[in-house]
C-alpha cells in the first residue's frame, strides 16, 4: 500500500559527437573508413546542391512546388547509410537526399515535381516505398513491412522517416505501438526540424523531447544532434544492429532545422523570425562535417572542388535528361495505367472516350 515512483526500464539518451564548430568527442567517434567518409560527404553534398538547383528550377517555373531538404542532410544521410540494399526504406516527403542514396534517380525526382506519375515509379527489386504525402501514414506501413520481413525469417530491417509534426498523428502512435508489440525490425527516424509548416514544436507537443515518446511503447528512444552526421550514424548503427539481431524497434529523434520554407508555396516570414534561422544556419551539418574531414585530412581543398564539380555535372545532366524525357511523356491515357492489374471494363470505356476526344482534338 505504498505511494512510490515507478521506475521505467527504458532510458532515453542524448548523443552528440561532432559539434557545430567541427570539434569532435573522440571517445564517441565511430570507426569509419576513408571511403565511407567520402561517400557520406558526397551524398550530403549532392543532396544540398540538388536541393538548391531545384529551388532555381522552381523559381523559373521549370518544376512545380517541392519541399526543400536544406539543413537536414546529416539526419537523412547518416541514417540511410546504415541500410543494405535488401533492407527497406520508407520515406515521408522530405527525404530526397536519402532517396537518392537509395538509388532514386535525380530524373525521377524532377519528373515527380513536374507532375508525372512516372516520378514515383520504383524499379524492380528496389525495396523502397514511394514517398508518402499524407503525414505519418507511412509509419504503419513500416511496421507491416517489418512484420513481413520477420515472418519470412530474413535479417532485413526497415527504416522509416517522418517529421516532428507527424508525431501528433494517430498513425504515428498506432505504428510505433504495433512495432513494439510485434518487435518488428523497424528504425523510426524522426527529423525534428522544429516546424510543421507554421507550427513550432512547442505547439505540436508538450513533451520535452520526441525521443521520450518511445517510453509509451516500451521501446528504446534516443535523441541525437541531427546536424551531426556522426551522431546520427552511430545512433542509426546501434538501432539497425538491434533490429537486425531481433531486438525490435527504436525511435531516433534527430534534432535539426528546416532552414528553408516548408515548400516553395510557403512564406515562413509570416510566422517565424529570421534570427532563429540565423542561429541554425551556423549549425549547418555540411560545413561542420567538412571541417572535420579537413582536420582528418580525408578532404582537401582540391578534392572538395572536384567533388563539387562532379556533383554539379551530375545534376546538370539529370536536368537535361529529365527535360528531354518529359517531352516524350505525358500521354494522358497513361492515367488509366496501373490502377488495377486488369482495368475493369467500364473504365476501359472511359479510356476509349478519352482516346477519342484526344484524337478529335489533335485532328481539330
Amino acid at each position: 500500500m505504498p505511494r512510490i515512483q515507478i521506475s521505467i526500464p527504458n532510458t532515453v539518451d542524448y548523443l552528440s559527437i561532432l559539434d557545430e564548430s567541427g570539434e569532435v568527442d573522440s571517445s564517441l567517434e565511430p570507426e569509419i573508413s576513408e571511403e565511407q567518409y567520402l561517400n557520406l560527404y558526397k551524398a550530403m553534398l549532392l543532396g544540398r546542391r540538388f536541393d538548391e538547383r531545384m529551388l532555381d528550377l522552381q523559381r523559373q517555373g521549370r518544376i512545380g512546388t517541392f519541399p526543400p531538404v536544406k539543413g537536414q542532410e546529416a539526419a537523412q544521410i547518416g541514417s540511410v547509410f546504415q541500410l543494405k540494399p535488401s533492407d527497406w526504406f520508407v520515406p515521408s516527403f522530405r527525404e530526397t537526399s536519402a532517396e537518392i542514396v537509395r538509388g532514386r534517380s535525380l530524373e525521377s525526382v524532377l519528373l515527380y515535381y513536374n507532375g508525372y506519375n512516372e516520378g514515383t515509379k520504383l524499379e524492380p527489386n528496389q525495396n523502397d516505398m514511394p514517398l508518402a504525402i499524407p503525414v505519418s501514414t507511412q509509419v504503419i506501413h513500416a511496421t507491416g513491412i517489418g512484420f513481413a520481413a520477420k515472418y519470412r525469417k530474413t535479417d532485413e530491417v526497415v527504416m522509416c522517416y517522418f517529421g516532428d509534426g507527424a508525431t501528433s498523428e494517430g498513425d504515428f502512435h498506432e505504428g510505433l505501438n504495433c512495432a513494439a508489440v510485434y518487435q518488428t525490425p523497424v528504425i523510426f527516424v524522426c527529423q525534428n526540424n522544429q516546424w510543421a509548416i507554421s507550427i513550432p514544436l512547442r505547439q505540436q507537443t508538450r513533451s520535452e523531447t520526441i525521443a521520450q515518446k518511445a517510453l509509451a511503447y516500451g521501446m528504446p528512444g534516443i535523441q541525437v544532434d541531427g546536424n551531426d552526421v556522426l551522431a546520427v550514424y552511430v545512433a542509426a548503427q546501434e538501432a539497425v544492429q538491434r533490429a537486425r539481431s531481433g531486438g525490435g524497434p527504436t525511435l531516433i529523434e534527430c534534432v535539426t532545422y528546416r532552414v528553408m520554407m516548408h515548400t516553395t508555396a510557403d512564406d515562413p516570414k509570416r510566422y517565424r523570425k529570421d534570427d532563429e534561422v540565423e542561429i541554425w544556419r551556423k549549425k549547418d551539418p555540411i560545413s561542420r562535417f567538412e571541417k572535420y574531414l579537413h582536420n582528418k585530412k580525408v578532404l582537401t581543398s582540391s578534392l572538395q572542388k572536384d567533388l563539387e564539380a562532379e556533383v554539379l555535372e551530375k545534376i546538370q545532366t539529370a536536368v537535361g535528361n529529365a527535360e528531354e524525357q518529359m517531352k516524350k511523356l505525358g500521354d494522358p491515357l497513361d492515367m488509366f495505367s496501373h490502377l488495377y492489374q486488369v482495368l475493369p471494363s467500364h473504365i476501359q470505356l472511359q479510356k476509349q472516350e478519352l482516346k477519342r476526344r484526344l484524337e478529335v482534338e489533335e485532328g481539330g
Binding site: 506519375n117 499524407p134 501514414t137 504503419i140 511496421t143 498506432e174 508489440v181 488495377y340 473504365i347
Partner: protein, 322 residues
C-alpha cells in the same frame, strides 16, 4: 454449412495452399473472431499467420498495406464495418493506390473482411451498410456475397485477386441458413453478377442480405402472374453493367434493393448505369428500395428501417402499373 463455416473453409483451404496469406485483426486468434469466422485458424496455422492486433484499425489496414507491399497477402478483419472509418485514409490513400503510385512495382493484394448490415439486434455502429464509400473509391474492389456457397467462392477469388478487395459479410446471413458447399474449390470471378432467377416482366437487383427478400418477393409476385428476374450483384464495384443492362433491355422495369441509406448509395449508380445502357427500353422509372436517409435506428426500430419483402413487392408493382 452456414456462411460463417463457409468463410472459415475458404480461409482454411487457401491458407493451406498459400503461405503468404496472413490473417490479422482484433480477436481473430484464440477467440476465433467475434463471429467465429477465423475459428480454429490459430490452432492450425499459429500466431505468426493468425495475428491478433492491438485495438487500432488504421494499423490493421496500414500494416496490411506494408505486408502486401512486401509480397504477403494479408486478409484482415475489421471487427464491424462501422469501425472501418478509422482506417479510411489508409484504404483511400494507400491500399487503393500502391500499384498505381509505383507503376506496378509494389502492389496491394489484400482483402479487408468486415461484417456489415442490420438485423441482429446489435448496438449502435454495429449495423451499418456503407458499401458505397468503397465503391466510389478508385483502386478498390467491393464484393458482397449473399449466401454460404458464393461467400466461400468469392472469398477465395478475393484472396487471389491481385488488387485490394473490400469484402462485406452480412451479419444477418452468418447463421441464417445453411447451404451445401462442396469441399472442392469454387471461385466466382470478381466483377461478375448472376441471374439467380430468370423472368421476363421485371428485374429485381439485390445483394447481400437483401437477396433473399428479392427472391421471396419474386416468388410472391409469381402468384400475381408477374415474372421477376432476380440478379445477385455479388460484386458492387466494378459493376457488371452487361448483365444488368441486358436484363433491363428485356424486362424494361427494374427495382434495386439495398439496406444502405438510399441517397448517394449503390442504387443510384445502378439506376444511372441502367439509364445509360437501357434508357430506350425502360417502361417505368427504376425503383429504389433502400434504407432511409437516417442513421439506422437502435435495434428495436431497425426492422422498420430495413427493406423487406413487402417493400420490394410494392416497388415491383409500382413499376408494373404503367
Amino acid at each position: 454449412m452456414t456462411m460463417v463455416e463457409a468463410l472459415n473453409l475458404a480461409l482454411h483451404q487457401e491458407m493451406t495452399k498459400d503461405d503468404s496469406i496472413i490473417v490479422l485483426g482484433q480477436d481473430v486468434g484464440p477467440d476465433g473472431g467475434v463471429f467465429r469466422v477465423t475459428d480454429g485458424l490459430f490452432g492450425d496455422f499459429g500466431g505468426e499467420r493468425v495475428v491478433d492486433t492491438p485495438l487500432a484499425e488504421s494499423a490493421i489496414i496500414g500494416m496490411s498495406v506494408g505486408m502486401a507491399a512486401y509480397g504477403l497477402k494479408p486478409v484482415c478483419e475489421i471487427q464491424f464495418s462501422g469501425f472501418a472509418y478509422q482506417s479510411f485514409h489508409q484504404l483511400e490513400n494507400h491500399a487503393a493506390r500502391m500499384r498505381w503510385r509505383t507503376q506496378g512495382r509494389l502492389t496491394c493484394p489484400m482483402v479487408m473482411r468486415a461484417p456489415y448490415g442490420g438485423g441482429v439486434r446489435a448496438l449502435e455502429h454495429h449495423s451499418e451498410s456503407r458499401e458505397a464509400y468503397w465503391a466510389h473509391t478508385p483502386g478498390l474492389k467491393m464484393v458482397i456475397p449473399s449466401g454460404p456457397r458464393n461467400a466461400r467462392a468469392l472469398l477465395i477469388s478475393a484472396m487471389r485477386d491481385p488488387d485490394p478487395v473490400i469484402f462485406y459479410e452480412s451479419k444477418a446471413l452468418y447463421r441464417a441458413f445453411r447451404e451445401e458447399v462442396p469441399e472442392a474449390e469454387e471461385t466466382i470471378e470478381i466483377g461478375v453478377s448472376r441471374v439467380v432467377r430468370p423472368g421476363e416482366d421485371l428485374t429485381i437487383i439485390a445483394y447481400g442480405a437483401m437477396l433473399r427478400y428479392a427472391l421471396e418477393a419474386a416468388a410472391e409476385l409469381e402468384k400475381e402472374n408477374i415474372a421477376a428476374e432476380v440478379i445477385d450483384l455479388l460484386t458492387i464495384s466494378p459493376l457488371d453493367d452487361t448483365l444488368m443492362v441486358e436484363s433491363l433491355r428485356k424486362t424494361g422495369r427494374g427495382v434495386i434493393v439495398h439496406e444502405a441509406p438510399r441517397s448517394f448509395g449503390v442504387g443510384a449508380e445502378v439506376v444511372s448505369r441502367l439509364m445509360e445502357g437501357a434508357f430506350y427500353y425502360l417502361e417505368a422509372p427504376i425503383q429504389r428500395v433502400a434504407g432511409y436517409d437516417v442513421v439506422i435506428p437502435y435495434f428495436s426500430r431497425e426492422k422498420a428501417y430495413l427493406p423487406d419483402v413487402k417493400r420490394i413487392m410494392e416497388a415491383a408493382r409500382a413499376t408494373m402499373v404503367v
